[in-house]
Symmetry: C2
Subunit: 249 residues, 2 copies
């Protein structure tokens, strides 16, 4: 979407950012990115002072940001002890897959009844993009297109479900470094994508729902296969017992 009836879709001016976003929201965004990128691994302790210093702000906005992240499930806090990047257990990861499957199925079903030709064409384009990426063996490109495909799917389902799906996907990143889509899986995964699109295009809500659910279930299966996912009986609730900065002398 280059330009629109709304203001000329300008790349958000620096001035606009300052005028519309508070420091707390920016810090929240930054922390979320750091967590999802792995710069702050699961179990890591969040030192407010350190983060504030590093981001060049006061502790207030940092605390507000952490509260938000706590609500969204990326962080857990203990009074007088600190906040930690949440670690997701294997059981929780599997449940999250189930939830995403239900959400995806719902979105696909609705999309089967409401999809416009433009939407169908956009989905088809993403499908071809993934196919091309698979043939070129470009894993990261496939990964990006895959993300876009799912986003487009969920967007057709409704705004609330979309946000839920994104949040759950973020949480999934907290189960260790997730295994990226393996090459041999790309083909299987994309075949499922095609099935989803076909059902939507046919206007068959039930089939679309089943295909959407089956796709995420397949992802869950592939996830279980690659990641042995029986590390220890249960992951500890508070992984990093507060690593203290070592005194110099």
């Amino acid at each position: 979407m280059e330009d629109d009836p709304t203001p000329p879709a300008s790349p958000p001016t620096a001035l606009d950012i300052v005028r519309t976003r508070s420091l707390a929201s920016l810090v929240s965004q930054e922390l979320e990115a750091m967590i999802l990128s792995g710069a702050l691994p699961a179990g890591e302790r969040l030192n407010e002072q350190q983060l504030a210093l590093r981001l060049g702000v006061s502790r207030g906005p940092v605390r507000e940001a952490v509260r938000g992240l706590e609500r969204s499930g990326l962080v857990v806090s203990v009074r007088n002890q600190g906040s930690y990047v949440r670690s997701v257990s294997a059981a929780e990861a599997l449940e999250i897959y189930d939830l995403r499957a239900a959400l995806t199925g719902l979105a696909c079903a609705r999309l089967a009844g409401t999809a416009t030709p433009a939407q169908l064409e956009a989905l088809g384009a993403l499908l071809r993009r993934m196919e091309a990426a698979w043939e070129a063996d470009a894993a990261t490109e496939y990964y990006a297109a895959n993300l876009d495909f799912h986003a487009a799917l969920l967007q057709g389902g409704g705004p609330r479900g979309q946000r839920l799906y994104e949040d759950l996907g973020n949480e999934l990143h907290l189960f260790r470094r997730r295994a990226l889509v393996e090459p041999e899986n790309m083909r299987e995964s994309n075949a499922e994508h095609a099935a989803i699109l076909a059902a939507i295009a046919a206007g068959d809500a039930l089939a679309a729902r089943a295909a959407g659910e089956a796709h995420i279930a397949g992802g869950k299966r592939r996830f279980q296969a690659t990641d042995a996912s029986q590390p220890s009986a249960r992951q500890q609730a508070l992984p990093a017992p507060r690593r203290r900065a070592r005194r110099l002398a």
Copy 2:
């Protein structure tokens, strides 16, 4: 830890509360209750100073609490302008029903495979409680038992889904004052409850899922019927344009 590995389910001591909960979390809890009870209606502006004064704390904890509520969808904030209790449009309310249906179906399906006799008995007891409430024409009692029944259902599904369901239920309260369950609806609703329990007891995951979804879909239908739900084309994004405290003189 007075005398046991797991202290005898003591009602949380005042000291424990002080020791484990921060002011921010308590304020968050309080604000949430005020919003859900209708004391702070949808669209209402949240004045930080006023709330802080009223709750006897500083603005810091209030701000942190509001950030959490913002993430959970109960509040929307605009920089330099304030925070408002979110108003949910009719379209959003309907989507939320769909999401809850999917979540409930998922939980029922899983429960059909894992339910213990104790869980089945507990669900049965709640069912009878609702029936008794219906015969006694005790709407509030029915309402409470209904809440418990659904909570028990979702509890069997998994902790993450349960929290999601609760959050969505809370959001639903923001669509005006929701109409309580009408007397004639109680019987229909409870029949659906019985169908759910029967399917779970039979261990039929597919039927349980369908029954769970159908029940929420029924709720959606009843919701649409009672609440005309076409108030105006779309609800304004920022309902209360900042009512300013009137000067005295």
